[in-house]
Amino acid sequence: MISRESGLSVWRSTTILLPLGTILLAVLIMPLPVSVKLDGHWLMPSFPLIAIYLWTLLRPELVPPITVLLSGLLMDLVIGAPLGISSLAFLAAYAITLSQRLYWITLPGFGQFVGFLLMMSVASLVAWLAVSFVHGRFVGAVPALLEIIVSALVFPIARRMFMPLARMAGPVG
């Protein structure tokens, strides 16, 4: 018979995997045909960056750097991008969120939204620089700008849906 304490321990062990599971799921849904087409561009919010931002903001101890690195690696493998680009972008997003976390988490919802925009901008800039390096020239940045806009539109809804998950993983703070 399983004791209450051991049951709780199993539950806590499972919830530790929640951040990794949600971030990996966010990566896997990126190539799904849910994007909106606009003038030859595929508009899709960056669900992995939204997940990384929210988890790092609320439960950073459950998001070690290796999780972010592996998520970026999987992203590059799944979408066919040169290896390392998404990892660098995700790690940049993670680093800036972690460094400003204590300030952003005290702000009301709009403040966290502004923090998200800053994080997205840094991540997109890193990705753009990495892609430009790979191709030996500065590439167009319009798709990245569109991704920032679409992600910003989706962020409030994603944040609302994310809060129950964060509570499942334990006290927020």
Binding site: G80, H135, V142
Partner: protein, 330 residues
């Protein structure tokens, strides 16, 4: 992880936080290493990529179609308002196309007479396989698509992929049950093309937007707006004569092209199984060079006429788009 609060936004780390930061730096260095090493040893990582694509293919094949159907149904509601206007445009285009069809048939008969006179061997009919698109690009700097056919279905790297109206891209990676198509608009896309009717050759390069450009045009080339672009067949990888697009504007010495196929609306692709008969023997030893050059030019044009109709499958195609098939256009 123990955190000590300083002023807002500044964190001082305990020993555990220090190892966290070291772990972050090591991860960044590893990612940078992947970026450099991945470019140098692409083949190694390509196998890993194919294994991941193969492993995730069942997920995308299961989840993708209902999502796409739902999206198309929602889009269909808004498209009702465009139906009348589109119908009018299509009727006008149809009338124009009927006249072109008659002209094309007359040209085809003329070419067949030239074949017989010159005894030029025709390029073989191009076989194709119909595949369903199961994945969108997924990133702002990547323009590739995943299809539900792979090596086990005869799809190999380098094969051309066409839509209803022209070239969409080519197979860049093929696992056992899934493959990835590099679209014309991707930054890595390079397609040797030819302008019609001048026959001037250039290279179509993707710009990560909806309009690729033709570059490496000969000096003093005059490019007409509206000129048709087809594949030139140089390199023997892609069949010659496949419609690619039309010139929409000029940008310095380069020509901006609007692809013939709507790349963002492709649901099914034909993957062409093409092997150039000229790929292995670039120079013939059986006659004077000038005759061989002429033969090469005529066979290219003949292949464009024969291969074009077969590859696009404009008439009498019997393959079903819902199942992967091996078919031969009529």
């Amino acid at each position: 992880m123990r955190l000590h609060h300083g002023s807002p936004g500044r964190i001082s780390y305990s020993a555990q936080g220090h190892s966290f930061r070291v772990s972050l730096i090591v991860s960044c260095v590893f990612a940078l290493g992947l970026l450099f090493f991945g470019q140098a040893e692409a083949q190694v990582f390509e196998r890993v990529r194919q294994a991941v694509e193969n492993a995730t293919n069942p997920f995308y094949e299961f989840v993708g179609p209902p999502i796409r159907s739902a999206r198309d149904s929602i889009g269909g509601v808004f498209r009702v308002f465009e139906v009348y206007r589109e119908n009018k445009i299509l009727r006008e285009q149809n009338a124009e196309l009927v006249a072109w069809r008659n002209a094309a048939l007359a040209l085809e008969r003329k070419l067949a007479r030239y074949d017989a006179l010159l005894e030029v061997p025709l390029e073989p009919d191009i076989q194709y396989r119909t595949a369903r698109v199961v994945g969108d690009p997924g990133g702002p700097f990547v323009r590739t698509m995943r299809i539900n056919l792979g090596r086990d279905d005869g799809v190999i790297e380098g094969q051309a992929a066409t839509g209803a109206d022209g070239l969409v891209g080519r197979v860049v990676s093929a696992g056992p049950h899934a493959a990835r198509i590099l679209l014309l608009t991707d930054l890595n896309s390079r397609v040797p093309v030819m302008l019609e009717p001048s026959g001037v050759r250039g290279m179509l390069i993707g710009q990560n937007d909806s309009l690729p450009i033709i570059t490496y045009l000969p000096k003093d080339t005059e490019v007409e707006i509206g000129a048709n672009i087809v594949t030139s067949g140089h390199g023997g990888v892609l069949p010659p004569g496949l419609p690619v697009g039309t010139v929409t504007s000029l940008s310095g010495k380069d020509a901006v092209v609007r692809p013939a196929s709507r790349l963002d609306q492709v649901m099914f692709l034909r993957v062409l199984d093409y092997q150039s008969p000229h790929a292995q023997v670039p120079y013939s030893t059986s006659g004077p060079p000038i005759l061989n050059a002429h033969q090469s030019a005529v066979s290219t044009n003949v292949a464009a006429a024969a291969g074009l109709q077969n590859a696009i499958g404009v008439t009498n195609t019997t393959s079903s788009p819902s199942t992967p098939t091996v078919g031969q256009g009529q």
